[in-house]
Symmetry: C2
Subunit: 206 residues, 2 copies
Amino acid sequence: MEPLEAYPITYGILGLLALWGPLSGYDLKHISDQILAPMWGVVQSQVYKELRRMKELGWVDMEREEQELRPDRKVYSITEKGYTALQSWQAQPPDVFQIRDELLLKVLFGTFASPGDLDRNLRNSIVEHEMRLLTYQQNGLSLSGKGTFRHDNKRPNPYSDASQEDPYLGLITRFAIEFEKMYLRWLYEALEMVEPRQEQAAGGES
Amino acid sequence: MEPLEAYPITYGILGLLALWGPLSGYDLKHISDQILAPMWGVVQSQVYKELRRMKELGWVDMEREEQELRPDRKVYSITEKGYTALQSWQAQPPDVFQIRDELLLKVLFGTFASPGDLDRNLRNSIVEHEMRLLTYQQNGLSLSGKGTFRHDNKRPNPYSDASQEDPYLGLITRFAIEFEKMYLRWLYEALEMVEPRQEQAAGGES
DNA sequence: CGGGACATGTAACGCGTTACATGATTAA
DNA sequence: TTAATCATGTAACGCGTTACATGTCCCG
């Protein structure tokens, strides 16, 4: 009854399991926020949906890990079939590329904003993206060099040893950082244009 | 029964009507592809949905324009209420910002790609974004300076005279161009990393 | 005589989101 | 006692997508 199909985010979760070994839905949500955020945001309930889907597809196995003090963890790991799926996904051309950015929309129709509105939205956006940039820069530091994510005890499937010195994560981090820098440069430019008056403003960084 | 609510793309279409005067659903789809594409992609059927929604909200008026040779055009124009809606939307903080990019996902999990797959996907992506960049650069030329979009006959609502010398469109075009340039720089970097061998290229690996 | 542009729409579907539900532990 | 963290899920909803439907004109 449920569609036996996979979507980009299905492979996103699957890939996390492949690289960072057996994980619970809870773990996966948190890792997603750190790793997948710049290319595909996920909400918690969707992680569970994808896990159920992949369970049915036979791409993951589930093992109940009992805990006395906390609720049981359901720990998922990728199967042989899962690796095959990941691999054949890599052979297809990607077909989703989209940006949805309400701020850009508001800037485009800035003529219709009341005085101060656009200005305020731009400033808040600057704060938001400045924070994102910091996060990615810190992620970049803590994630490069060695596969971090303390689950030191669990030794996953031999395949995922790649995580020890995977260069792709660094590439993605670099993308995220360059994107945020570019976005910020543009935001400052936009702000200047929207409100050229007020303060001598001796430029931020460069 | 249908939700009397508006979403970012609702305002996107509304803004197009505000700036470029009375337009049909068909026109709106084509203008969207040129103007809104970098910040919010739209498919045709959705344009009609939004028009229906806005009709119910009283944000737009519809006028049937009969044509002898072709099917009738239903021409929509923004109402007073529509302008008010646009304005109060500008006062809210934006709440959607997302990127969904399957290529980035494939790069992140590049370890699981068979030889050549990642390479091919990167090369195709370069072609795609190189074309986008060209499009935006040409749009920038034809759209800046004067409000183009030949509907020279129709004189829309006085409000929309802003389109004659609107600086915001230029700002958005600049964003789109800078984004594509950054993306392309990154793609070339990624390609080099994925395939350092082949061609004399100077200083491959160690 | 087929294909593209012009022109408008509907039907079906599910991903992604929001909100709800539960309940223990720990720290301010 | 209030809130955060740990932990797992379900229900409802609609935007956004894909595919379908219809028909004319124009060009090669």
